[in-house]
């Protein structure tokens, strides 16, 4: 299954908090993803919380957009990526 990097912008900052509400939001994202065969691997977020870089496994860019729509998450750009491990070359 292809892996994708998804760049997102949150002008007002990402509201995901480490509490009950935040957990619920993350759980609902995971459930919506599963319906489309999409897996959220992990994300990086900038210190101001206005930009995220999310790594997803999914069958197609259409599935990635579909879950973004369901989850109410913005998408700036989707790029297909592969892992490049520096230690592999040492």
């Amino acid at each position: 299954m292809p892996r994708y990097m998804i760049e997102r912008t949150f002008p007002d900052g990402l509201g995901l908090t480490p509490n009950q509400q935040g957990n619920q939001a993350a759980t609902s994202v995971i459930a919506n993803n599963a319906q489309q065969g999409v897996t959220w691997v992990h994300s990086y977020v900038t210190p101001d919380k206005k930009h995220t870089f999310c790594v997803y496994d999914g069958p197609s860019p259409e599935a990635i957009r579909k879950v973004a729509e369901r989850n109410g998450l913005p998408v700036d750009r989707i790029t297909e990526v592969r892992v490049l491990d520096p230690y592999f070359h040492m």
């Binding site: 912008t9 860019p61 259409e62 957009r65 579909k66 729509e69 369901r70 998408v75 989707i78």
Partner: protein, 873 residues
């Protein structure tokens, strides 16, 4: 015997039955390797729950060529009524399918319908399962299908059905697993076997384990076969005689029939039953497992096997075998080495298969008949080649269809039967053109007319004219298509051949309409009316397809959308999958141009996942996907369009190549590669001009000019492109707006002044057209435009569940507590349509009930935005 380690699976099936009893019909797919215990599992379930329901059960048999609708014969016997009468009276299959559905919908109790061993199913049975799968949701039915997972490879015909059913919310999948070491230990109990060793040797296959445990008990045999033979070795001579006869007969065996084949069975059958290799199955007996039968059959000496087949053939013939026994008779005749019986029976079996639409089985039987036809008179052989060619064409084996048709032509020519020669030459054009060998198709079509014209006017000549018209239409050659089509209509009308008139009207109408001339529509409407009167569903579907896609090709999207919707509904109701897929592919492309990208994306994603998509449908859906990804800046556009080009190149026609090349030119432009953009736009530009295709010629000129080439623009090119190429961006934008193409409109505005560019930017941002928006922003900054709007604001949770506008309206009605009837009245649609929408809304929200959907709608704040979204459209 206790059923080990199946509690959870039994519970899943029981839950499904509970749903079915509450009028939410369910499909259960029970899968596992041979010997995993699928039959035992189902029997166990029926023993526990069969009393709460009516049980109907059918089996697919392990014949070289299966009996068409074999399981339906079993089911009809149990169900009785209209179905039993119909199947004995050779009723058409549509009547049989709906008779079964009627049976399932009636009755006070729910029905458990079981079809076993679907990996051996014939084509018509798979169609039956598909038919039921699509209609089961509103009936009180639990439909259980079992199959061997390991025998269903990616190209197995069952794959399509599984793909079809997997998408349904009504489907429960049950994968039976192998026994654990604990279960094996429990089965061994006090017997002198090492459970660990037994588990390793048998890999926990329940059939293998029990076979070992019931054999003599000296060591563990290496294979299932050895285990079976060890058990069989316990039989005396009488038992072995019966066992060999039973292995040749196969399936569920009537004891009287067994006696007719094996002679005296009194002692031998009793032995087989007590050893347990054969079991009682209702009034019949059967091998404990097909694996056991295979092992025994392989051991029978060839001369003995021939003899047993001969006796089985005679006994079944004497018993007056009906339509449902033909495939079995053929197999006995072949086993007996009786060539003339094979020939006669295989032809009868083939005809019976055609009658119920089991074309793969019909093809196999005709091929078998032809293998035994060396001594047949040439005219009869030619007729066999014709029939075989027909079936091969239907199952899309075009190369062999062409060969067989050519063989028929040669035989008729040898017999100097000019009428038959001409008829077959005309028929030869069809497999040729469908495999992309257009020049050869033209040639045989011309020869057909030449041959037939020398004879008195005939239906064959009318059809040959019709074929010629169709070929010219496919090549977008309007004058010749109309000329030949009118000849066909005139002659066929005189000879009262309605079907040929309807087909010719379709060719003429399509040829006219596809050039953008509405006069073609009248021909097509007449063709539809005529085909409906004749009950030719496939032709009605094809005519709707031609109308819808002709509008699409002419950028007349509102009309395309309306006819495609109608055609998609019609073809799904009549199970015409190929036409249905092709129209959905086109609808995806229409949605791309209409800027309804989310819908385009859903349609395309569902369609490319279809396992058996015909090449032409795949080309069009890949074009839609390629354009969509290119415009959104998503990855995978090049991959989709590379595949589309490979497929389109095989056809060599403008109809396929032009959309692919145009999409590739657009992608190259968006990636900033002007040289590649020119190369793609040039590839079939001359061909588009030759065919005077207004839109393709316009778009190719547009890309070439944009990439800096000087290129002439004929006056007949499509107006919006012509205006844009003239530099009249304002009028071009207006024209695109009138056509309902926001992206193309914005592309024209982007060539205008700062105000127009700002407007273009807003459209691009709203669509999510990131590459076009980024390029325009850069251009505006470069030319010193001030106050360029920032990027799109992050999407808020406006419509987090991806509901369509219609579904949002339905949701609002649900929240207001309206019934389907009231909703229908308010939205001017039938309550049934409302029902479909409500199911879709519940599915998208993941809500179990209307009440929960209403609660979610309020909690998630979906309701106030309803109006806003509705207005935005």
């Amino acid at each position: 015997m206790d059923l080990l380690e199946r509690d959870r699976d039994l519970q899943a099936l029981a839950t499904a039955l509970g749903e079915a009893a509450a009028s939410r019909g369910r499909i259960a797919l029970v899968a596992g390797e041979a010997g995993i215990g699928k039959t035992t599992f189902v029997e166990h379930f029926l023993a526990a729950h069969g009393r709460d329901a009516r049980v109907l059960k059918g089996n697919c048999d392990a014949l070289f060529t299966p009996t068409p609708l074999g399981p339906l014969y079993d089911i009809a016997r149990q169900a009785g009524g209209k179905l039993a009468v119909g199947i004995e009276g050779s009723a058409p299959r549509a009547a049989l399918f709906s008779a079964l559905l009627e049976q399932l919908q009636g009755g006070a109790r729910p029905t458990i319908l079981v079809i076993e061993d679907m990996h051996w199913a014939d084509e018509a049975t798979i169609d039956l399962a598909k038919f039921l799968g699509r209609r089961v949701a509103e009936a009180r039915v639990l439909f259980v299908a079992t199959y061997r997972e390991d025998e269903v490879g990616p190209h197995h015909r069952l794959r399509t059905l599984l793909g079809d059913l997997a998408g349904s919310r009504s489907t429960t999948r049950i994968a039976l697993s192998r026994l654990t070491i604990d279960a094996v230990r429990a089965l061994v109990a006090q017997r002198p076997f090492d459970p660990l060793l037994l588990h390793r040797q048998t890999a926990g296959n329940p059939f293998f384990v029990t076979e070992v445990l019931s054999s003599a008990g000296h060591g563990i045999p290496a294979t299932v076969r050895d285990a079976v033979l060890a058990r069989a070795a316990k039989l005396g001579p009488a038992g072995r005689t019966v066992l060999a006869a039973a292995a040749v007969i196969g399936g569920r065996i009537d004891p009287g029939f067994l006696a007719a084949v094996a002679g005296d069975t009194q002692e031998g059958l009793g032995d087989c039953l007590s050893v347990g290799i054969i079991e009682a199955a209702g009034d019949c007996v059967a091998f404990r497992h097909e694996l056991a039968r295979e092992a025994v059959l392989a051991e029978i000496e060839p001369g003995r096997r021939r003899e047993l087949n001969r006796r089985a053939l005679d006994a079944l013939k004497a018993a007056g075998g009906g339509r449902g026994d033909l495939a079995q008779l053929v197999q006995y005749a072949e086993g007996a080495g009786d060539a003339s019986a094979v020939l006669e029976l295989a032809v009868a079996a083939a005809k019976a298969a055609v009658a119920v639409g089991a074309h793969r089985e019909a093809e196999a039987q005709y091929a078998r008949a032809l293998r035994h036809s060396a001594d047949l008179p040439p005219a009869e052989r030619a007729a066999l080649f014709e029939a075989h060619a027909d079936e091969l064409a239907i199952i899309d084996d075009l190369e062999r269809a062409t060969e067989e048709r050519r063989a028929a032509v040669a035989l008729w020519r040898g017999l100097d039967d000019r009428l038959k020669e001409g008829e077959n030459l005309a028929a030869l054009a069809w497999p040729l053109v469908r495999s992309g060998r257009n020049a050869e198709a033209e040639e045989v079509s011309r020869s057909a007319i030449e041959v037939l014209r020398a004879l008195p006017p005939s239906r064959q000549l009318a059809d040959a004219y019709r074929v010629r018209a169709h070929l010219r239409m496919l090549d977008r050659d309007r004058p010749m298509a109309v000329r030949w089509g009118r000849k066909a209509i005139a002659l066929a009308t005189r000879l009262r051949d309605e079907a040929t008139v309807a087909a010719a009207e379709m060719a003429v109408g399509s040829a006219i309409l596809v050039t953008g001339d509405d006069r073609g529509r009248a021909y097509l409407d007449r063709s539809i009316a005529r085909a409906s009167r004749l009950g030719q569903d496939a032709m009605v579907g094809l005519a709707l397809l031609n109308i819808g896609t002709s509008y699409g090709e002419q950028y007349r999207f509102p009309e395309a959308e309306q006819v495609l919707d109608q055609g998609i509904a019609y073809t799904s109701e009549h199970d015409l999958d190929h036409a249905n897929h092709y129209m959905r592919a086109w609808l995806a492309l229409v949605r791309v141009h209409q800027g309804r990208w989310s819908e385009a994306s859903d349609l395309a994603a569902a369609l490319v996942a279809q396992p058996s998509l015909a090449a032409i449908s795949r080309i069009m859906v890949l074009v839609a996907l390629g354009r969509l990804r290119a415009r959104r800046g998503d990855p995978g556009a090049a991959a989709a369009l590379d595949e589309a080009l490979t497929l389109a190149a095989q056809t060599g026609t403008l109809q396929r190549l032009a959309p692919v090349r145009a999409a590739r030119a657009e992608l190259a432009w968006l990636e900033g590669d002007k040289a590649r953009c020119v190369a793609e736009a040039k590839a079939v530009h001359a061909l588009a001009i030759k065919h005077r295709h207004r839109w393709h010629a316009g778009e190719f000129a547009f890309w070439r000019r944009r990439s800096g080439e000087r290129v002439a623009v004929p006056a007949w090119c499509a107006q919006p492109y012509r205006l844009q190429l003239k530099g009249d961006w304002r009028k071009a934008a207006e024209a695109w707006h009138r056509l309902g193409c926001p992206y193309e409109q914005a592309r024209a505005l982007a060539e205008g002044d700062a105000a127009a560019q700002t407007e273009a930017l807003a459209i691009f941002d709203q669509l999510g057209a990131a590459p076009a928006a980024a390029a325009l922003r850069q251009h505006m900054r470069g030319t010193g435009v001030r106050r360029i709007p920032r990027g799109p604001r992050a999407t808020t949770r406006r419509n987090p569940f991806g509901l369509t506008v219609r579904e949002m309206e339905i949701l609002a009605c649900l929240a207001a507590g309206l019934s389907n009837g009231r909703i229908g009245t308010r939205l001017h649609v039938s309550p049934k349509t409302v029902g479909h929408h409500v199911s879709a809304v519940l599915a998208k929200l993941g809500a179990a009930s209307r009440g929960e959907a209403a609660r979610l709608a309020r909690e998630q704040g979906l309701l106030p935005q309803n109006r806003e979204v509705g207005d935005a459209k």
